[in-house]
Amino acid sequence: MSEDLAYEVLMDHYRNPHNYGSVKDFTHGITEYNPICGDTVHIEMHISNGIIDEIKFMGRGCSISQASASILTETVKGMPAAEAAAITDQDYLLKLGVSLGPAREKCALLSLNAMRKSLSAGGSSDGQ
């Protein structure tokens, strides 16, 4: 995928986010924000038998932070939680396919970090 196309995909996710909203009876929930800029994502997941069978997000922030959250939900939906937790920063940036400066990489990785944190914390008290 060319960089231009990757950017367009990103912008499309920003304008029309996928999996935006709340998961009924979620087992894992987390709100993370970037203290430097205030970008926020809230992620809710339903995990059963080790599989993320539902994941949604809500949030506010720049196009990169919100688009990457939308793409993340698409990426890990149906995936074993252990596999999702093992996605590295590098993997994910490569998947997004746009070259970002170090400052904006933080925007792109906000949702991934949030998801990993929630998975490693186990079931969240935010959930049902």
């Binding site: 909203g21 800029c37 205030g38 809500m58 506010r60 720049c62």
Partner: protein, 427 residues
């Protein structure tokens, strides 16, 4: 009249091109560029005078000490202090305010109050919040719709329990210039100590701490053409003399035994450890540079730039800028957003199943990122003023901030770049 084009020649960084474009630097509220005179002064110090101060009896140390203390005198005079002992060297405004809060805080008791304003930088909020453990209450005077401080609210929140009032001279987001002399009168009539955060004022306008009659005044060198890592805390001598020290170590003591220590005289009592001599010398060179151009001239120049920005902003569709429109109470700080993007609130989000944000709204990070492509440096974010962002009901703003080397042409390029960025984003 100040000539920004000639001034630019003194700043080596403006010779640099980024991706074939000249640098348009509009993030002066964050930090400023350095003229070669400042860089040379630091280099000269390290190449010819470097040695520790207040210690050696050899020639180099005597010269170094002399340079350090002359820098103190020079910078102290620049802000209108009558006594160089009133100026404590610190790293920056943040450290200055932490010093005051920590030291004064030792004599506060449960129930005492601190009065701040809603337009403070985190550095004038968090150090005071540290005192909450002691039962000290932190109050915030409200701001008006137009970005000015509500004097009525300020007066209503000051009372017998208010031991300290600490306000910013100029808001780093709104550009509002507070009437610090008037606020000081109110504080002193109430018997409160009065602290002014001068980080955004000292670089941009003539300052006379004696005339303001503040008890303490904090500022940073790097925002006024000086190096990073040096700043000042002005304090009235009698107050400084009676305050406990902030950090312990070498140079701040008079004598030390196994049982305890006695303190050195002011300002050394507050300067524990080897000080940042080279950068004090660098800041002194920055002060010489600013003085030569004239602080009145600099203020006039920035008034012209903000006036021009406030005229030209109407050409940008959907732009909303913050802060007072009157240039007489407005510094060269220009915060704005393209469309409204309110702060994230999970409950609201759940209630409304997605807060509707106009498709034309562009997040400030995207604005800053897009305009960066035009070689223009502006800031986006909460500008270390999150309570103010809450008040404005925005998550963040974009911000252009001006200085003596900026020009009307750059303001033009900024708006043209902004317009192009908006077009590209909406494609």
């Amino acid at each position: 009249m100040l000539d920004p084009i000639r001034i630019r020649n003194d700043f080596p960084i403006f010779r640099r091109m980024i991706d074939g474009k000249e640098i348009i630097y509009l993030d002066n509220a964050a930090t400023t560029q350095k003229p070669y005179q400042v860089v040379e002064a630091i280099k000269d110090y390290y190449e010819n005078f470097n040695s520790n101060v207040h210690r050696g009896i050899y020639r180099l140390s005597e010269e170094s000490t002399d340079m350090y203390e002359r820098a103190r005198k020079n910078i102290s005079e620049f802000i209108g202090s009558r006594d160089p002992r009133s100026l404590v060297f610190v790293r920056n405004t943040t450290e200055a305010l932490n010093l005051v809060a920590s030291s004064l805080g030792k004599s506060l008791a449960s129930g005492d109050e601190i009065l701040l304003t809603e337009m403070e930088h985190h550095s004038n909020i968090v150090p005071w919040q540290f005192l909450k453990d002691k039962g000290v209450k932190v109050q915030f005077a409200r701001i008006n719709e137009n970005g000015t401080l509500s004097i009525e609210d300020f007066k209503s929140k000051i009372n017998q329990k208010t031991k300290i009032v600490s306000v910013t001279h100029v808001s780093n987001v709104l550009g509002t210039i507070n009437d610090v002399k008037e606020l000081g009168k109110i504080a002193h009539e109430n018997g409160s100590l009065y602290v002014v955060d001068g980080a955004q004022s000292v670089p941009h306008m003539p300052i006379d701490v004696t005339d303001i009659d503040c008890d303490f005044f904090a500022f940073s060198g790097h925002k006024m053409l000086g190096p990073m890592g040096i700043g000042g805390l002005y304090g009235k001598i009698d107050l400084l003399e009676n305050m406990p020290p902030y950090m312990g170590g070498g140079d701040m003591i008079s004598s030390v035994t196994k049982e305890g220590a006695t303190w050195n005289s002011v300002p050394h009592k507050f300067e524990a450890g080897t000080p940042n001599v080279a950068d004090a010398v660098g800041l002194s060179a920055a002060v010489d540079y600013l003085r030569k151009i004239g602080m009145d001239e600099i203020r006039k120049h920035e008034m012209d730039l903000i006036l021009y920005a406030l005229q030209e902003e109407h050409y940008i569709e959907g732009l909303r800028s913050f802060g007072p429109k009157s240039i007489h109470i407005r510094a060269g700080v220009y915060s704005f957003n393209i469309g409204d993007i309110p702060a994230f609130n999970l409950e609201k989000e759940m209630e409304q199943s997605g807060v509707k944000i106009s498709r034309d709204a562009i997040h400030p990070h995207d604005v800053a990122s897009l305009i960066n492509g035009e070689g223009i440096s502006i800031r986006s974010g909460h500008h270390c003023a999150m309570p103010l962002m809450d008040k404005l009901n925005v998550q963040a703003t974009a911000r252009a901030s001006f200085y003596l080397y900026n020009t009307r042409e750059e303001v033009d390029k900024f708006f043209i770049g902004l317009n192009d960025a908006i077009m590209r984003f909406r494609q």
